[in-house]
């Protein structure tokens, strides 16, 4: 077998592989939409920092063996000043109550194409509300590092903070018709830790738990908004360095401090709306 014959052999063998073009394209589009959404949820809000910044930590919600970007921080920022210790309260226990499977199995209910509630809270007020909603723990202020730019404009909110020393991301954006809960779920592999798209009352929920990536996440479609809350097991990076892709951030706990039910409960809260 010479080089020319090898080319012919490879082509003959590969040509015989059945191709389902539409399935490949649909899967690529769905994953691409999900990736774009992730980037908006993370680095997207960083604006000029570009997509590679993606919150400087493990990129989230990467479907099926996707490329979770994990970078070594140039330095450990430590826990930012503890300003808000969440205290236990009755609302918390209700929020973190496990969602009955019978409810999760309901078929998809109505879902507004446009916001049907006003996003009345701004970032500081949202942060204070989060302190009430989250379980007791050490909660830092909204990060101001350039890698973690808060956003507080129009119907967009984004903030990053430390909870028990680990990074948490909270984002609200108006829902986009092309990026539905179903489309995310269709692109995600349950074996990789993604849930299906579930309906809970007037809310749609998709969750992710990826021990290897060190994160728990909840994405909730509610009142025409997408609310994303992500809890990592690691501290944030302090410098952006995409070249460090493949190296792992230093973890600060065995698992993300906030579990999936808690994230779902927080993301599903009506506290942000009027």
């Amino acid at each position: 077998v010479n080089e020319q014959e090898m080319s012919t052999l490879l082509a003959r063998a590969a040509d015989a592989v059945p191709v389902d073009v539409e399935s490949l394209v649909a899967g690529g589009v769905a994953r691409g939409r999900a990736a774009r959404r992730r980037r908006r949820a993370g680095a997207g809000v960083a604006g000029a920092l570009g997509v590679a910044a993606v919150v400087g930590a493990a990129v989230v919600l990467v479907p099926h063996g996707g490329s979770s970007v994990v970078v070594e921080p140039a330095g450990q920022p430590g826990v930012a000043g503890s300003t808000a210790s969440a205290s236990a309260g009755s609302s918390r226990s209700a929020l973190t109550k496990p969602i009955p499977s019978s409810v999760l199995d309901e078929p998809h209910a109505t879902y507004p194409a446009a916001p049907d509630a006003a996003l009345t809270l701004h970032n500081e007020a949202i942060h204070a509300a989060l302190a009430q909603l989250l379980p007791a723990g050490t909660m830092g202020p909204i990060l101001t590092d350039e890698q973690y730019p808060a956003r507080d404009q129009g119907n967009h909110r984004a903030q990053f903070f430390l909870y028990d020393g680990a990074l948490v991301t909270f984002i609200i954006d108006p829902a986009k018709g092309s990026e539905t809960c179903e489309s995310f779920a269709a692109a995600a592999d349950p074996a990789a830790g993604y849930s299906s798209c579930r309906t809970v009352g007037d809310t749609q929920v998709m969750t992710e738990s990826q021990p290897r990536a060190g994160l728990n996440a909840a994405m909730v479609w509610h009142h025409g908004y997408e609310i994303t809350v992500i809890s990592y097991d690691n501290a944030p990076a302090t410098t952006r360095n995409p070249a460090l892709d493949g190296k792992k951030l230093k973890t600060v706990s065995d698992t993300p401090p906030l579990d999936v039910p808690t994230l779902v409960a927080v993301a599903s809260s009506d506290a942000w709306f009027e």
Binding site: V1, E3, M6, S7, L9, L10, A11, R12, A13, A14, D15, A16, V17, P18, V19, D20, V21, E22, S23, L24, V25, G27, G28, V29, A30, R31, G32, R33, A34, A35, R36, R39, V51, P63, H64, G65, G66, S67, S178, A187, G246
Partner: protein
């Protein structure tokens, strides 16, 4: 520049068959290959509006994603040591099996070199640029891979 999704879909439909062929030769498994192609298309989707040559970007992304996944999943995986000698006949499943076995005797990087050189018909310089290798290394890997495939399976 905003991306028109219909343009991406048109591109993806045109390129998907070739990407799957390459992916199948790289992965040796149809389902893994389909997953690799979808992951590749997703990466192209995100950058599509800014790409001058999306076809080349897709091919490079496919190979690099394959190599990246292989590094993560099995850094200790070794190529097959021994494969049966069989003659190559026909274009059916037997041929696919033989070629797949021959390729599985190679390291992931050598497999990528073979696919880019002999399926995609790229020059050693082009392969080197896409894989981050020197042209000399590509030539050496090509020769070594061909010899191994000849010895092990394809006669």
């Amino acid at each position: 520049m905003a991306m028109r999704e219909s343009e991406f879909e048109e591109f993806a439909r045109a390129r998907a068959p070739q990407l799957l062929r390459s992916a199948w030769l790289l992965c040796g498994d149809r389902h893994l290959a389909e997953d690799l192609v979808q992951e590749t298309l997703a990466k192209v989707y995100v950058r599509f509006a800014r790409l001058d040559n999306p076809a080349a970007y897709a091919q490079t992304t496919l190979v690099r994603t394959f190599l990246s996944l292989r590094r993560r999943r099995s850094s200790s995986e070794q190529p097959y040591a021994d494969l049966p000698d069989r003659a190559v006949e026909g274009d059916g499943p037997e041929l696919r099996l033989l070629v797949g076995e021959a390729l599985s005797a190679l390291t992931p990087t050598d497999r990528a070199v073979v696919v880019l050189r002999y399926l995609e018909d790229l020059s050693a310089d082009e392969v080197a640029a896409r894989l981050g290798l020197s042209a000399g290394a590509v030539r050496n890997r090509s020769m070594r891979a061909l010899a191994r495939m000849r010895e092990r399976s394809l006669s």
